[in-house]
Amino acid sequence: MPRVSVEGMRFYYQQAGEGQDVVLLHGVTGNMAVWPLINMLPTLAADFRVTAYDLRGHGYSETPPSGYTSADMAGDLVKIQQALGLGPMYVLGHSYGGVIALHAAVLYPEAIAGLILSDPYFPGLRHLETSLSAWSGWQEYKEQAGRAGLQVSEEDWFDVGQLFAQTANLPPERHEMFRKELGLAAMDRLTRLAATTCGDDVKAVAGLTAERISSVRHPTIALYGEHSPFLATCRYLEANLANCRVALVPDAKHRAHEENPAAYVALVQQLLRELRFAERAGYTGGAA
């Protein structure tokens, strides 16, 4: 099984196709299987060399006790890029994967050709997302967590560390509830992260302030679900990044790749082709 080592830590990855590099980043508590489940790699491999890997602490990659901020994981991204001999890359990142992608553009601008930010919200822009309870999906999310024996509140919705800790400490009578709702594998995933600093790290600004977010001039697509809870962030990116435009996935919320996979894959393919066309034509948008 393909693994790449950076500084002694092994990451699981898959790669397909040839051409300019595209790297896919999943979100926290996910893994790279989200992409094969929607046939993303073979689709994009028609035009690009596509690499998808498991973030540290996720899937078949190693789980160090710490180092889960977006700055740390942006470092992983460029080290993996170097170890695999990838060129300047387009990065598609979902949720926290989008935070990592944008942080990489800030810290390692030469490594990045363009960004597709799929429904991220940023710790540095948390002030924008104050009314999550007004989001139509909130109640649904809360109810699902309740059925799994977990409690979430509107005040600390961003605190995934609390979910990790709750899962790791579930009383035995609630194990069956959790397993029935989210599956045994989810319990392993969350419990594994409870033993790390991941929960605290992913809510840390880690240097990715509003000002630094706004400084990004790479060609960027803010790809959000039409009914995403994070549309305030989407509009902020559009208004403040020099070269950013919005694309909305119809009939989708935060997890557009699962909620409307056909539209999501087709849109990503089209957007990547457009980014490449613009790059080859020498178009640099607002940065010119």
């Binding site: 393909p2 893994n31 094969p36 046939n39 790699l41 899937g59 599956g183 996979p261």
Partner: protein, 92 residues
């Protein structure tokens, strides 16, 4: 060389009996569900695909199997379905 479904079932069951450090001592039959019974996850299915390619020493279009899994309302795989998929591609 032809390979029978019985042989493939035996191979896959053998691999899943101790899959990447997770042992399973219960019965493994055609109706055994990958996620509900074995407690595995979709990322395990991805890795299983590579393990099977190594085992049989040839490429298997496992991405078709993953995409099919992704389209299911109830996301689980019966071992018998995996065996049928493998038989189709290994005897092609």
């Amino acid at each position: 060389m032809t390979i029978t479904t019985e042989q493939i079932h035996s191979d896959v069951a053998g691999i899943l009996r101790n899959f990447n450090g997770r042992e399973y001592s219960g019965d493994i039959g055609p109706e055994t569900c990958f996620f509900a019974d074995l407690g595995l996850a979709s990322i395990d299915a991805v890795v299983l695909g590579e393990t099977l390619e190594e085992h049989y020493g040839r490429k298997i279009p496992f991405h078709l199997f993953m995409a099919d899994l992704g389209r299911r309302a109830v996301r689980d795989i019966k071992l018998g379905e995996l065996v049928a998929f493998l038989h189709q591609h290994l005897s092609a």
